[in-house]
């Protein structure tokens, strides 16, 4: 026991210095005036940004849902493929992640722009050009494209562990494919679903690059708002900290609800 505690010290120091202290600083800043006095002003100002919060949460939920709907069947197909095919398919899923996040998002810009590749193609085929860039749809598309691997990988790693004979046992007991899915496959993949949702939802709700590049000025999200307070012209780290703090609380609440959903079933599966 003692040996393990000792080896954990560097990590402990690391997380205190780079995680705990910065988070405490955010909390302190959120309740501080620029002169250094205690205040609730920063928090109370947040009310006027509530529509941005709602929009961020909405788009993040939509993106997470789409990622789940695409990722779940994909993860299932990969998990049931031959070992070779599994490796190749996983490689394909990971491949975009080897490129810069920024580059991937820029690529979507050239595709979606008013005179971009898709619209050029449409006009040449005699269709009306579509307004795609600077819409909420483009933001959601960017989120789904960038974060889909984070949904597929945890789902895959859970599904690959589900014994094939358990599915056969369900069929043997009279379960149609629909029954097999809802009574066996879905409950058994709950841990993967939870970590997949977490890993897509959290970066989606706090993104600012995707919304700025694909959403234009009219689709400002929480991430953009925070960035503005720290780097933009409206420099106000106290308000920025307060916005971050509230976002953190909202995220913790949502994750708490998701996690509590199936703590019972989780217990059985973690064994």
């Amino acid at each position: 026991m003692k040996g393990t505690t000792k080896t954990a010290i560097p990590y402990l120091v690391w997380s205190v210095v780079f995680t705990v202290i910065p988070m405490l600083l955010i909390v302190v800043f959120a309740f501080t005036t620029s002169e250094g006095g205690f205040t609730f002003d920063n928090i109370s100002k947040i009310g006027k940004y509530s529509n941005i919060y709602v929009k961020s949460i909405n788009l993040a939920i939509i993106a997470t849902l789409i990622c789940f709907l695409i990722g779940y069947p994909l993860a299932f197909i990969i998990s049931r493929a031959s070992e070779r095919a599994q490796k190749n398919l996983l490689l394909l899923i990971m491949l975009p992640m080897w490129m810069s996040f920024l580059l991937r998002t820029y690529a979507w810009m050239t595709l979606l722009e008013n005179e971009g590749i898709i619209n050029t193609l449409l006009t040449q085929l005699g269709f009306e050009p579509l307004q795609m860039i600077n819409t909420q749809g483009a933001v959601v598309l960017g989120m789904v494209y960038n974060y889909l691997p984070f949904m597929v990988l945890p789902l895959y790693s859970i599904m690959v562990k589900i014994d094939k004979s358990v599915i056969e046992a369900a069929q043997d007991l009279g379960a149609s494919l629909l029954h097999v899915f809802f009574r066996v496959l879905l409950p058994l993949s709950v841990p993967g679903i939870i970590s997949g949702i977490t890993m897509v939802f959290v970066p989606s709700i706090s993104t600012f690059i995707i919304s700025r590049l694909l959403g234009g000025g009219s689709n400002m999200l929480i991430g953009d708002l925070i960035e503005q307070q720290f780097l933009g012209g409206t420099y106000n780290p106290y308000l920025g900290s307060a916005i971050s703090l509230v976002l953190m609380v909202i995220m913790l609440l949502i994750m708490g609800i998701i996690n509590s959903q199936d703590s019972d079933e989780m217990e059985g599966m973690l064994i």
């Binding site: 004979s165 056969e168 069929q171 007991l173 009279g174 149609s176 064994i271």
Partner: protein, 463 residues
Amino acid sequence: MSENKKLLEIKNITLSFDQDKVLDNVSLYVKDKEFVTFLGPSGCGKTTTLRIIAGFVSPDEGDVYFEGKKINDLPPHKREVNTVFQRYALFPHLNVFDNVAFGLKIAKVPPQEIKNRVKKMLAMVDLKGFEHRRVTKLSGGQQQRVAIARALVNQPKVLLLDEPLGALDLKLRKEMQIELKAIQKQLGITFIYVTHDQEEALSMSDTIVVMKGGEIQQIGTPEDIYNEPKNAFVADFIGESNIFDGIMKQDRLVHFSGKDFECVDSGFKPNQPIDVVIRPEDIELVPPGNNPLNGMVTSVVFKGVHYEMNVKCNGLDWMIHSTKARKVNDLVGLDFDPDDIHIMNKMFKGENNCLKGRVLDENRIEFLDITFERENHGFPAESEVLLTISPNDIEVVSEDKADAKMYLESLIYKGAYNELIVYSYSGNVELMIHSMLDEQVATDIGVKFQFDKFTISPLAEEV
């Protein structure tokens, strides 16, 4: 047996996975309320046959009938059979009650009836009061009982059991054997049981189906199979046996171990090579002297009920079971009755291996993708020839030194050497090898030919 008693029948089932023939023309039927066991070594196709009956595998050829109706295309969830899986395959996210109730809930049985039936079934498998336990927290034996209850609670017409006791320790296995048999009698359900354990098969079954290499070797009652094994493989697999090469001189007269013996079998060709099987418990040790066979005890092992002794006699090892112990190096005589000698057709046709070869040029001949040199063999290029080689002139070697990799189908000790039947992937033929080495059956082994021992002759019309 009348036609209407056939509950389940499979006819001429053939199945290959990647060119490997897993089942070859398998036909059998199962009567209502019967306890049938598929018995054989691993890789013999017994589990695959069970999976075809359950509907998880569709055969390439052949039909499956249930109560006279063809069910080839019926998916597993619509078949009136339930399976107890080899490693239980319980649902880890459900407790004991919900595992057992799974099938009933899907069948939309009223909740109160589900409760009653699950309760009754759990009592029957000795798991009263376990309803709310997590299945992952149960011992292997308890998980097995849940699996049995989960299948039986649906009142299937046939219960399929795939080596259900394989993962349990010996004592628990014996107990479960008795319990399973009792459950089967009590419920009057047909059981189809897959195992590689011959003792399990003998003690539980009404009918045993012995399989090897995707083919049925023998179907019969445990007594039939034990007392009248159809070939040396069955004799070797079921119980202990002395198996020797012999020649049937004429009806009721067999020659083996250097002597002629009176026996009760007839209907063989004069001087036909056959396998002789004598069970170790049928041999009596008598004082040495005026006996057809005399030998020396080479080992004595106490087995609980009897002593297992080896006697060397005319160069052959005999195994004898007796309640009276002898000492190593004792001289003894062997005594057995004519009806203790079982005569069997050889599984491998002929005494030598006959292979088709192709002449490449004046010095080289090719067979089974192997090429060897023989100076001036005198056959024209591109012609086909018959290559004959004795089982003694083929060796088993490590794979890096081998001429070819082949699949070991069976290995039987013939008193002085092992008789191996191997399958050549490249030629789709079987070869017989005599070797002193013990190899693992159902694996690939390296095979090396003594090329100078090949007899080359023109290819007759038929090989």
